[in-house]
Assembly symmetry: C2
Homo-oligomer: 143 residues x 2
């Protein structure tokens, strides 16, 4: 596993992007819609040459799973995402270890869209609650 | 700026470390006390060869500034820390841009202790609220 990105839920991606630019974080993807997860998202490079991103997330519609997080907690740092080579295998291992899978491996068209990846097999993601304190995402990048 | 670590507030560092080991994150420093910030902390490498860490933080005493975060929100992802070369200069720039400095640059003996750094000038850190959604830390490593 390697850390791929840190998910950060915000009220407004455009406004928050300006804050990150003020901090000196200027390399960012366009914003795209992720219909399955009901979010809009953009990735901001966390540091020169690091290949770790801050993922800005904004709820898409009233049914968005992050709507509640924004309303109750005012947004903020939401999850850590780790890249794996084989998401089915990794997800099975985590379930066997007793971690709660809250979203089974599913396609992420938004990921491939923001990074402009032309994939035969699209990127897939899954989510796990590993404790009350931490939600993690797994990602197997499209190829 | 480069991303140095992600701060994660937990109820119990030892118990949470076991969860991270179960996830395959096994490279971690010892746990040390940071008296000025009133926390105990340990750093867990987020991925092979990435030089990005997850910092596990546990409140130290009733006056710990993260005590409230743990009580109200049940802990969780707390801040992003970026390394800078000159913390006084970087802090001044952020203040001039209107960001709220909640902790001015101060020594971090815990940081040098966990990484076993022998420094003439110890590591220094500062904290800024950059929006309702995000707290960031700056670190200038001791040398």
């Amino acid at each position: 596993m390697r850390l791929d990105h840190i998910g950060l839920v915000v009220e407004n991606i455009s406004e928050f992007s300006e804050i990150l630019r003020d901090l000196g974080l200027e390399q960012m993807t366009p914003t795209e819609v992720e219909p399955i997860q009901k979010v809009s998202g953009r990735f901001v490079l966390a540091g020169e040459g690091q290949e770790v991103y801050i993922e800005l997330l904004e709820p898409l519609g009233e049914e968005s799973p992050i709507r509640n997080f924004l309303a109750k907690r005012g947004g903020g740092l939401h999850h850590l995402c780790f890249e794996v080579e084989d998401i089915d295998k990794a997800a099975k291992q985590l379930v066997e270890k007793g971690f709660e899978m809250v979203c089974a491996p599913v396609e992420s068209v938004g990921y491939d869209a923001v990074f402009n990846r032309a994939c035969e097999q699209s990127t897939r993601i899954a989510f796990f609650v590993v404790s009350d304190e931490l939600l993690i995402e797994l990602v197997e990048k499209g190829h």
